[in-house]
């Protein structure tokens, strides 16, 4: 008989859940998002005998109260979508805390299988489990597994199939509980299912629970969906997510009264008392069924921590590692980026050659400049993103990420952020796109949004060509380093100020508690790290890529249309013809021809939408010391910051210019004061991040609202700051000579 079942994997973070998920489903995975939230939804498929399983990897959680988005998602999946079996992956080297979630799952009354993972580590630490006894206490079958070695997978699948069959037969009106069912050798025997509740919370709390339970039982709507006892406990725990589901106005005051009675009698909040009772049950069960043979005071992990989070060495080691990550990402990533650029350049050339020389085909321009350029612009980030996420996956899987947050929290907390914000901020100096993707490690949405929004102020690598062009053009040699330093520091300063501002205005709220596990260090597995890296790369290509491509084409159109009118074109054609016929020397001829081409390119850009917008905006740009040429170049720079340099080359008729172009520098010196030049750099630093950043912000915040807010907010900030600097500078007479 073929059948299909849905299996949900639950478990604490760092319990090896993802490894087991990968073992079960291999490459048959699909990553998406839960509707409306940024929590990832990973689904995979696997077969066991006749049974086809859809395996859903729930977010890793410590509990099932509504503390974080992850917990709400995990719980709602179990309640609303009713998977056939829930597998709770348990890190046996940290049994008590891991069982806390298992106990809550049991209370939910779902068909449960416990996977006692990392049983090798536990054995090495000298723990011995009486699996049968534990299984009876908790009322669920237990399978021992070693995730990273793939041990126990068959037994786990057997247990899942059996549990699914059992729960099905129960639903089919079979009131008699199948008392025992022999599983395979490693798995245990399911004890007689407890008819009475799993945990007795003690006289005082039980009294209140049964009171609320009888209230809840009057509500038919609730009864269909929830177990009344479970609902009563959740209400007593003051669960934020459950309250809106209970519409009856009569219940709330009564629950509040119950809660305050408990507090009076026990001197503890109901949440504390309930959690305490659960832990009490767990430690009772563990005392009966777990034996510790070795008294290991200091594990390997403790010894590593003694060095890595040492008061003196901790910070240097952290900074060294960060430098390594940064260096690795952007140095190793550089050559492949070059190859990708070259490849797309070559491809563009090949496609271009399909049309006759000098052809004015719109299709040619669209394919070469718009589409190939756009696709290239998307893929060019891929090496960086893959390398960065390789590094992050290693840091995360090894357990160092939590230490990094531990070390940096003091500093980041001062500006209203979380310790974990530091790493994305630092990556931002390389490129905002992977940096914004790295904010995923932040659990709290407010922290995450704040980090994301201010991240572009970390001066990214693509802005460097702008500084490299301008600084040598306007400032003496001795000041080169200092100017660069000033720019970077301005960015950091503005980021701190903006973060503080955001946290005290629109993203206000008490900072989330830093109650965070420092998981034991582990060797990351190659498979896990590679899968993680690939997922990120793919998400980037799929989600951000499409937006980036779209905007590239729009930007291309803005600089290409409307085309020069025919008489203008004819004029340049004429000039070229004149040059061809009059000038004799080959070299001079080529030079003159190039000059004509450059002039035509300038005219064309000026005539295009971008050029017109630049001109229209001139009055607005004036207070910053900018003319329409800079405005036009800035529009192009939205595609990618470094494009600013090339666009300046076109508007000043010097042709293809790069940041080393002396001719362009000369032109700039003739047209702008050092103050205006500084303002250009300042504006490029702060203003509208490139479209790839906006696209990735949209994707990661799951809303256009925040992406557009970032775009508008940063541009407004840039405008205000630049105007202030330019006006103050002009008044004081600084750098205008």
């Amino acid at each position: 008989m073929k059948s299909k079942i849905v299996v949900a994997l639950a478990g604490n973070p760092n319990s090896g859940k993802t490894t087991i998920f990968n073992n079960l489903t291999g490459t048959r995975q699909h990553v998406g998002n839960y509707p409306g939230v940024t929590v990832e939804r990973k689904v995979g498929y696997c077969r066991h005998g006749d049974v086809e399983m859809q395996v859903v990897d729930l977010p890793g959680t410590y509990s099932l109260t509504a503390y974080s988005e992850d917990e709400v998602v995990a719980r709602n999946f179990i309640i609303d979508e009713k998977p056939d079996v829930v597998v709770d992956i348990i890190d046996t080297s940290n049994l008590e805390r891991n069982l806390y979630l298992a106990v809550q799952l049991m209370e939910l009354g779902v068909p449960l299988v416990l996977a006692f993972n990392m049983s090798d580590t536990a054995k090495a630490r000298g723990y011995e489990f009486d699996i049968k006894k534990l299984s009876r206490f908790i009322g669920a079958p237990i399978v021992q597994t070693v995730g990273h070695k793939g041990e126990g997978m068959e037994e786990l699948l057997d247990a899942i199939v059996l549990a699914a069959a059992e729960s099905k037969s129960k639903i089919n009106g079979d009131q008699e509980m199948s008392s025992t069912g022999a599983l395979s050798s490693k798995a245990s025997i399911r004890g007689p299912r407890l008819q009475m509740p799993l945990i007795n919370y003690g006289r005082e709390i039980e009294k209140e629970i049964s009171g609320i339970q009888s209230l809840v039982q009057k509500e038919m709507v609730l009864l269909q969906k929830y177990d009344p006892r479970w609902l009563a406990i959740k209400l007593l725990e003051n669960d934020k997510d459950i309250w809106p589901r209970v519409n009856s106005p009569a219940i709330r005051p009564l629950v509040e009264e119950s809660a305050s009675r408990i507090e009076k009698v026990l001197g503890e909040h109901p949440e504390t008392a309930i959690a305490g009772a659960r832990y009490g049950f767990i430690s009772g069960a563990c005392q009966e069924a777990v034996r510790s043979t070795v008294e290991a005071r200091h594990t390997m992990s403790d010894r590593i921590d003694a060095v890595v989070t040492n008061r003196v060495l901790g910070l240097p080691i952290f900074l060294g590692l960060m430098y390594l990550v940064f260096h690795l990402t952007f140095t190793l990533g550089d050559p492949p980026m070059g190859w990708i650029e070259e490849f797309f350049g070559w491809l563009g050339g090949v496609v271009d050659s399909w049309w006759p020389e000098g052809s004015e085909s719109i299709l040619d321009s669209l394919i070469v400049d718009g589409i190939i350029g756009g696709v290239g612009g998307v893929i060019v980030f891929l090496p960086n993103i893959l390398l960065l996420f390789l590094a992050i996956a290693i840091l995360e899987d090894s357990g160092y990420m939590a230490r990094a947050a531990f070390i940096m929290d003091r500093l980041m907390h001062n500006i209203g952020l979380h310790g974990k914000s530091f790493i994305p901020m630092m990556i931002g100096f390389g490129c905002s796109v992977p940096a914004i993707m790295a904010t995923r490690t932040l659990e709290n949405r407010r922290d995450r949004l704040t980090t994301m929004l201010v991240l572009p102020l970390m001066s990214c690598g693509a802005r460097l060509p702008i500084y490299a062009l301008i600084i040598p053009a306007f400032f003496p040699q001795a000041w080169h380093g200092r100017m660069l330093w000033i720019i970077y520091m301005t960015g950091i300063g503005l980021a701190i100020l903006s973060a503080k501002l955001l946290r005290s205005t629109i993203l206000k709220g008490e900072s989330v508690p830093f109650v965070m596990e420092l998981p034991p260090y582990r060797m990351p597995t190659v498979k896990g790290v590679l899968i993680h890296m690939w997922e990120r790369g793919w998400l980037y290509l799929k989600k951000a890529g499409t937006i980036i491509l779209g905007v590239s084409i729009i930007l291309w159109a803005m600089t290409a249309f409307p085309r020069l009118p025919d008489d203008e074109k004819a004029r340049f054609e004429n000039e070229r013809h004149m040059v061809q016929t009059i000038i004799q020397g080959e070299e001079e001829k080529a030079g003159r021809l190039a000059a004509v081409d450059n002039e035509e390119a300038e005219e064309a850009l000026q005539y295009s939408i971008a050029g017109r917008i630049g001109r229209t905006m001139e009055p607005i740009l004036r207070p910053m010391g900018f003319d329409w040429k800079i405005g036009t170049a800035l529009i192009g720079a939205f595609a990618a910051k470094e494009v600013f340099v090339a666009q300046m080359g076109i508007v000043y008729s010097v042709g293809e210019a790069d940041e080393e172009s002396e001719t362009l520098r000369e032109k700039l010196r003739d047209n702008y004061t050092p103050l205006a030049a500084f303002c250009i750099m300042l504006f490029c630093l702060v203003s509208a991040p490139c479209m790839a950043t906006i696209a990735i912000t949209k994707r990661e915040s799951n809303s256009w609202k925040w992406a557009l807010f970032q775009l508008g907010g940063l541009t407004a900030l840039a405008y205000v700051v630049t105007v202030l600097v330019f006006q103050a500078g002009s008044l004081l007479g600084v750098g205008i000579g």
């Binding site: 509990s63 109260t65 503390y67 806390y100 003051n238 959690a275 003091r410 206000k508 709220g509 830093f514």
Partner: protein, 252 residues
């Protein structure tokens, strides 16, 4: 207290209400306050304005209301007075919960600090003194209910004496000093006594296994001096000092 002198009883009530609402929902709105205190919207606005003038709350019309550090200190003081009075009424005078709460609400504004301290000390004394304790309070309740005292005084006193002697022979464990987890040094072990944090922070802390009665050991402090790394239930947990401050422990 100097800062309190300028506050009227009703303003103190407002502050107290805001404190409780924030503990539940992170930030308060005028609507919540008027609901809680059962007063009209306009009087809430007036009160909020004058609280804001005194620098006790952050308030702008239609915006969320939060407490300033100064306001929090004052509110905590009011709440402490309220709770101390209510506990005294309930635990010592065996007044019924609701009545005690209402009386505490009115008395908290007027009672001088010295008398309040004495009441707290008296409640403690009743608990600690061998002649007091829960039986003694139960006797007091009997007296209130029946207008007379049970005629078992001799037996009662001899029982007390016996228990006292028994305790002494057991070696008379000295009660350990209760301190803040924040003040523990690396390497010190302690038993969790009480978690004073509220709302989400409290929930998170207990869910991670820091429940009353759990053993906890401070492992180290972060290089920059803030989060601390503690060991509980065999694993490492990091907490900010501000969070550790909400956990009372007994050093072992």
């Amino acid at each position: 207290m100097v800062i309190n002198e300028a506050l009227s009883a009703s303003l103190e009530d407002y502050l107290e209400a805001i404190f409780h609402i924030i503990a539940e929902k992170q930030a308060a709105r005028a609507k919540d306050i008027s609901k809680r205190l059962k007063v009209g919207g306009s009087s809430v606005t007036g009160a909020l304005r004058s609280l804001a003038e005194k620098g006790l709350i952050n308030y702008a019309p239609y915006d969320l209301i939060t407490l300033t550090p100064k306001g929090r200190a004052v509110a905590e003081d009011v709440v402490r007075r309220h709770e101390a009075l209510r506990d005294f009424f309930v635990n010592v005078l065996t007044i019924e919960e609701k009545e005690a709460d209402e009386a505490a609400c009115r008395m908290e504004h007027a009672i001088p600090k010295t008398i309040l301290e004495r009441l707290i000390q008296f409640a403690e004394f009743v608990e600690v003194c061998p002649r007091g304790g829960s039986k003694w309070i139960a006797g007091f309740q009997y007296h209130c209910d029946h207008g007379s005292t049970q005629q078992t005084c001799e037996r009662c006193i001899s029982l007390i004496l016996e228990e006292l002697r028994k305790k002494k022979t057991q070696g008379g464990q000295k009660p350990m000093a209760v301190v803040n987890l924040k003040d523990l040094k690396p390497g010190q072990k302690a038993k969790v006594v009480k978690i004073k944090a509220r709302g989400d922070t409290n929930r998170r802390i207990v869910e991670m296994g820091v429940t009353p009665g759990a053993l906890i050991e401070v492992e180290r402090v972060a290089p920059l001096g803030d989060p601390v790394d503690v060991k509980v239930k065999g694993y490492h947990l990091s907490l900010r000092k501000a969070e550790a401050e909400g956990i009372d422990v007994e050093i072992i």
